[in-house]
């Protein structure tokens, strides 16, 4: 729609249409320029770690004096990454799945209804996001341990759900608000009950919302050290626990092996993310259709 957007996939038979869109205003220039700068710096940041993770010796020079892949093997070995990575994936997927399942219906209610006590409910959902885990981490771990849910995988998943569910709720609410309620009405007139309304109509329309929420939760979960650590045992440590231990724990480690692990972390997340983005475009299907009209 915007006149300044680069677009037009069809080659017009007449050269005229579409030409005006390519004119770059200062604003456009600023936006693309800023973006390019950001990307360059970002690339530098990532590249420096990646290079280091393959570095033999890298002292005071532009590039390492030699390259090796040994660090990966070492990190893999030392931290038992086979198990750690698989635990991480299990925990991440479980937390994302469960929190979307629990959170989406709740955000639906918050988006569509106003009811007495809504503010209190909102507060209850806001607090877990804001409170640092140290306020509630130990009592929570105690509680879970008491019921023999922790230490272990179950405990890790449950503990990570505490901030994740509210995250989903908070992100999804505006998405649901955007959907025209009459589409829902139509689905119900077609005989869809709440469950199927969710799975068949809302879910596809909410894909960008679900994706955003899921990515958010995924990143939070995979990066959540405190709660995971407090509820994990040696067989349910996640990657971030390994990483943080490597980074902050006692002992002397080759920086390269930490970097190698960080790269593994990044690659794992990237795979998850790229898979996610491959299958869903973070723009609503509705407007994807409309974009064609552009």
């Amino acid at each position: 729609m915007s006149a300044t957007t680069l677009k037009d996939t069809e080659a017009p038979p007449v050269p005229e249409p579409g030409r005006r869109q390519l004119k770059a205003t200062p604003g456009t220039f600023l936006v693309w320029g800023g973006m390019a700068l950001f990307l360059i710096l970002l690339f530098g940041v990532v590249a420096s770690v990646v290079v280091n993770s393959f570095a033999g010796q890298w002292f005071d020079s532009w590039f390492p004096s030699g390259y090796t892949t040994a660090w990966y093997g070492e990190a893999w070995q030392q931290y038992d990454l086979t198990q750690v990575v698989s635990t991480t994936v299990i925990v991440a997927v479980a937390v994302v799945g469960i929190s979307v399942l629990i959170g989406a219906p709740a955000s639906y209610v918050l988006a569509r209804r106003s009811f007495p006590g809504k503010n209190i409910v909102m507060l209850v959902f806001l607090l877990p996001i804001m409170m640092p885990p140290i306020t509630y981490g130990i009592p929570l771990a105690t509680l879970l341990t008491y019921y023999h849910l922790a230490p272990g995988l179950t405990g890790v998943i449950l503990a990570n759900l505490v901030p994740s569910v509210p995250f989903v709720i908070l992100t999804m609410t505006p998405f649901i608000e955007q959907i025209n309620p009459s589409i829902e009405s139509a689905a119900r007139m077609c005989g869809a009950n709440m469950t199927r309304l969710f799975t068949r109509i809302l879910a596809p329309l909410l894909i960008p919302g679900v994706l955003a929420a899921a990515v958010l939760v995924l990143v939070r979960t995979v990066g959540m050290f405190e709660l995971t650590f407090l509820t994990s045992n040696s067989s349910s440590d996640t990657l971030v626990v390994a990483l943080f231990t490597a980074m902050t724990g006692a002992g002397i480690r080759a920086q390269q092996s930490v970097d190698a692990m960080a790269v593994i972390y990044m690659l794992m997340m990237m795979v998850l993310l790229v898979v996610a983005l491959r299958f869903v475009n973070p723009t609503q299907l509705v407007s994807q259709v409309r974009e064609d009209v552009d």
Partner: protein, 376 residues
């Protein structure tokens, strides 16, 4: 979970009411719908037609009254359990589903076997003439095409009751006629009970078994098309039934169902069903097509004659719509085969029995069948 798409015998609306934040959008709607009936809701924009349908569908909670199906109260049932079909005024198509899938949606919800879904969807698409567009998404279609998808989506379910909210408003005249025929055919062949909102008088008259005329959320009259067309209960209904000329006047005298009214000094005689007395404020209703431009002048026994100056002439196919103004400043709408020219002085006449006289006060409307007085 199972959808009660079973048929019913009667559907009773008792004092159904709906307010939006204090303002009544629908008040005290009483209606007895028999199975297989075709009921049209008519009324000016914003009178509560869509609200009525939404209440019936269960999409809006009632703020008053109840709905009974075969004596069983259903107004607390969620929409999907009522099993009604609905064509929404704004279509409300699922933007992420293709035409086919939009139409198939309801069938899938009812767990109809795949093969049957396929044939029924194909039929429905055929019905609304969207064959070449079956795989498009709603956003890729024209307004009328979308509207047709909405119709197909509702009727493909063959629900016991189908609610249609101005389903043909965005279709061209020809398609409208065709669709109208199809809707009637479906109604008859499947025995669908239909409640139909339309702003098209002709559509209402031609399709419906009974009409319900609403005004500001209140029912004005319920009756058969002929009833309403020939004996509108009050001037508002008359207005809706094509009595475009509604002239304010005062009763001069009445005699056996006929009243003579003074409209800005001119006497007009017409039939009335209201109990009127001389001096009452009334509205005189005359249809544009009941006026005739005559060459004759002077009084005539069975006719009221008025003189007027033509102001606007509009070509409307074979007929002309003429707007004229009497010497007393009263505007007249006339539909005629004879052309006239702006500025021309003409005499129009209307037969007495075609002129209707109504009390001005709307509450004095004649009692309406099946309907208690609407006094909120």
């Amino acid at each position: 979970m199972s959808i009660q798409a079973t048929s019913f015998k009667t559907l009773e609306l008792e004092h159904v009411a709906r307010n939006f934040g204090g303002q009544a959008a629908l008040s005290d709607l009483n209606l007895n719908i028999r199975s297989g009936e075709f009921i049209a809701l008519l009324g000016p924009s914003g009178c509560g037609k869509s609200t009525a349908l939404n209440c019936l569908a269960g999409l809006l909670p009632l703020t008053g009254g109840r709905i009974l199906m075969d004596g069983r109260q259903i107004d607390r049932l969620v929409p999907e359990k009522r099993g009604f079909g609905m064509v929404f005024q704004n279509y409300a198509l699922f933007p992420h589903l293709s035409v086919e899938k939009n139409i198939a949606f309801g069938l899938e919800m009812r767990r109809i076997p795949r093969a049957e879904i396929k044939t029924r969807v194909a039929e429905a698409i055929e019905l609304v003439q969207l064959g070449p567009h079956a795989r498009k998404l709603p956003g890729q279609m024209s307004g009328g095409q979308q509207q047709r998808v909405a119709i197909a989506r509702a009727v493909v379910l063959r629900p016991p009751l189908v609610l249609m909210d101005e389903p043909l408003s965005n279709l061209d005249a020809k398609l409208r006629l065709e669709m109208r025929t199809e809707i009637r055919r479906l109604h008859q062949s499947l025995g669908l009970t239909t409640i139909y909102v339309t702003h098209d008088q002709e559509e209402a008259l031609s399709l419906a078994d009974r009409l319900v005329v609403l005004r500001q959320g209140e029912v004005q009259q319920v009756g058969t098309p002929q009833d309403l067309h020939e004996h509108p209960a009050n001037w508002h209904v008359a207005d809706f039934m094509g009595y475009r000329n509604l002239l304010d006047g005062v009763v001069e005298h009445t005699r056996g169902g006929m009243a003579t009214v003074s409209v800005a000094g001119t006497g007009i005689t017409g039939a009335t069903r209201d109990p009127l007395a001389p001096g009452d404020a009334v509205k005189v209703g005359i249809r544009p097509e009941d006026f005739e431009i005559t060459d004759a002048s002077g009084p005539d026994a069975g006719h009221t004659r008025l003189e007027a100056v033509v102001e606007v002439v509009e070509y409307q196919g074979r007929e002309f719509a003429v707007e004229a103004r009497t010497d007393t400043g009263q505007a007249l709408h006339i539909r005629t085969h004879r052309t006239a020219e702006a500025g021309q002085r003409i005499t129009v006449s209307a037969p007495h029995e075609r002129v209707l006289v109504f009390a001005s006060a709307l509450t004095a409307a004649a009692p309406v069948p099946e309907l208690q007085e609407a006094t909120p």
